[in-house]
């Protein structure tokens, strides 16, 4: 029977809101990501270090467990900016690995199979699509960064009391802002790589290579040219500097936190340009 004879009518019911509509994409993708064995393994492994940190917080707040041991243990077991920076360093690496596994599959298959026209024929703009993909990854990375950080603060706050939190208010601020910056940047890198090379497996390698190669390039620049601004080319080191400033910890030589923020902003803009150039609703015949 011809379609017109079936008497189809356009949908006249209520539409979901513009922003809640975006959630359709992450809602569809999250279960598939969690189903992937490697992602699940990395998610589980990512909890080891937070668990160790929780153990550390517990011990540090129960002086009766170690007061008899003497030495300078009290200083070592202090929960301060350095402790949270160590926590952030490790979780940040896990976030990069997770982004390298999960990120490339978000855009590359759509481009490789000419799926973008399908998305954009829905009431979704290019910005909506990018935001939806970004949100998918940010939420996943938050599971190994922001949520464990929240747990650590809840535990430390509970054990050490509100006084500690009031005294060290810049620590939660620094950790949450630092992690937010980190996962946004890492997600952008993963999406840009995914859009750039189209093939998810290659894009995954590119995400890992991006961080390692830029670290090497920055180090080389600093050593050969005897400068310190090379770290601006190294997003991991720039983020480290920003975190350190926010946690009130010395970050070593090199440009200050604001210069690093500016460098990261330029990098984010470049990644945005890549996404803007690559995400177009065209069918590529090759």
């Amino acid at each position: 029977m011809a379609v017109y004879k079936r008497g189809y009518q356009r949908y006249r019911g209520e539409l979901t809101g513009r922003y809640t509509r975006l959630l359709a994409l992450p809602r569809f993708v999250w279960p598939r990501l969690i189903e992937q064995r490697m992602i699940l393994i990395v998610l589980i492994v990512s909890l080891f270090w937070p668990l160790a940190c929780i153990g550390f917080i517990y011990v540090s707040n129960h002086s009766e467990l170690w007061s008899g041991l003497g030495g300078d243990l009290g200083k070592f077991l202090q929960i301060d900016g350095k402790f949270f920076r160590y926590f952030m360093d490790t979780q940040a690496v896990m976030a990069v690995i997770l982004a390298a596994l999960a990120g490339p599959g978000l855009i590359a298959p759509d481009l490789a199979h000419n799926g973008l026209p399908l998305y954009f024929s829905r009431p979704l703009s290019r910005l909506d699509y990018v935001l939806a993909r970004l949100f998918t990854l940010v939420a996943l990375l938050a599971m190994v960064t922001l949520f464990p950080a929240f747990l650590l603060f809840a535990m430390q706050g509970g054990l050490a009391g509100m006084g500690w939190l009031t005294q060290n208010w810049r620590l939660p601020f620094g950790v949450f802002t630092g992690f937010t910056l980190h996962i946004l940047l890492v997600s952008l890198v993963a999406l840009a790589c995914s859009a750039w090379v189209k093939w998810r497996t290659i894009a995954g390698a590119l995400v890992v290579g991006f961080f390692f190669i830029l670290a090497g390039v920055a180090e080389m620049l600093n050593n050969v040219l005897e400068v310190t601004w090379g770290i601006l080319l190294n997003p991991a080191q720039s983020l480290y500097t920003v975190w350190s400033a926010m946690l009130g910890v010395d970050a070593g030589e090199g440009p200050g936190a604001w210069a690093c923020v500016a460098g990261l902003a330029v990098l984010s803009a470049l990644l945005g340009v890549v996404l803007e150039k690559k995400l177009r609703p065209v069918e590529v015949i090759s």
Binding site: V93, A205, V207, E219, M220
Partner: protein, 362 residues
């Protein structure tokens, strides 16, 4: 079919692949990786020339005067004796001496002096000389050390590693992704012949790109050095060193190439073998001696004229790479790496015989 025929087939396959590896747009980033240090050394040459001019323009002191400076001197005394510095920079920063104490503001001043060859960087804290850094602006020894660091940390552990990852993974896994692998599998050639042809193409391309990159960078490293010093260096160990670095680059391509070619056949996702190998190579120095020999880097570093430098205060991500392996004699290193490569290629040949076309899976 004769060995001669199969050898010709291997060369035909390699020739066809070489064109793709060298000239496809996808390979351009590998050129970038290989030639980036060259750019940095060119920038260094320009920077050195600029510094020489600006330092000489203000004041050139005698070498004896430069050597007379001692730690603990007041800034005023130094200025009076040495005269106007080439550069004078003042800044202050906050520092907390102990945890829980108030932060204090510290005033710093840096004076630079130039004696025509060396640059002194004098760091004063609260008006008292704390640190003296005197070094030649540029010298062949410094340049060699710098190049050695670049070669070990950039070329071997980053550029060649990721370059080979891109080139060799693309040979089979890339064709699977492009849905073009059956073109090769439908040729009247044994699968191991196909593997050999593709590996040869990857090896030639990677060796030419990275070998040339390393050699050109070696040349660029010498640009800022005085020509007399360079002539003396070339009369001595220069060519042998350059050759050893090039051989190390070639062997790195040989080893990493075989690993990534095999990985491209055995696994779908290259990130996992890449990360595992990266970790393995980095942790290699801490492993027992027998396990250390199961690493590409171990043999390659043994061929370099100088061991990998270890620096303190290296960032966390880069620190992951710092795992110097104890050296092996060069004939053993070459033999060891060739044996390792042969074993991996044998595994790859078994995998390619079982290889099936399954385009849907990627």
């Amino acid at each position: 079919m004769t060995l001669n025929f199969r050898s010709r087939q291997i060369w035909t396959i390699a020739r066809l692949e070489l064109r793709r590896v060298f000239f496809s747009r996808r390979s351009f980033w590998v050129y970038g990786l290989a030639l980036f240090p060259l750019l940095i050394f060119v920038m260094q040459t320009i920077a050195v020339e600029y510094q020489k001019r600006t330092l000489s323009a203000v004041n050139t002191i005698s070498p004896a005067l430069m050597d007379s400076v001692r730690e603990g001197e007041r800034v005023e005394a130094v200025l009076e004796r040495l005269g106007k510095p080439s550069r004078d920079r003042e800044y202050s920063f906050r520092r907390r001496e102990r945890d829980g104490e108030e932060e204090v503001r510290i005033h710093n001043r840096q004076l630079h002096y130039w004696d025509g060859q060396r640059r002194a960087n004098l760091i004063f804290q609260e008006g008292v000389l704390q640190n003296i850094h005197i070094r030649q602006l540029v010298s062949i020894d410094l340049q060699r050390l710098m190049y050695n660091g670049v070669f070990h940390y950039y070329y071997l552990k980053l550029a060649i590693f990721f370059g080979c990852l891109g080139i060799f993974m693309n040979l089979f896994r890339g064709e699977m992704l492009d849905k073009t692998l059956h073109f090769w599998l439908l040729a009247p050639a044994r699968r191991d012949v196909l593997l050999a042809g593709k590996y040869l193409a990857g090896l030639l391309a990677a060796s030419v790109i990275f070998g040339t990159g390393a050699a050109l960078t070696y040349g660029a490293m010498l640009w800022p050095v005085e020509s007399a010093e360079v002539r003396t260096f070339f009369a001595g160990p220069a060519l042998e060193q350059m050759l050893r670095y090039s051989a190390a680059a070639l062997l790195a391509c040989l080893g990493y190439g075989s690993v990534f070619l095999a990985a491209g056949l055995l696994v779908r996702n290259p990130i996992i073998p890449a990360v595992v190998l990266l970790m393995w190579e980095s942790a290699n120095g801490f492993l027992p001696a027998v396990l250390q020999k199961l690493s590409v880097l171990h043999y390659v570093q043994s061929l370099c004229p100088m061991p990998a430098p270890v620096e303190e205060g290296t960032p966390a991500l880069v620190r992951m790479f710092l795992a110097p392996a104890p050296a092996t004699s060069w004939p053993l290193a070459v033999l060891g790496l060739c044996s390792l490569t042969a074993a991996i290629l044998y595994l790859a040949a078994q995998a390619v015989k079982r290889l099936e076309i399954n385009y849907g899976g990627d």
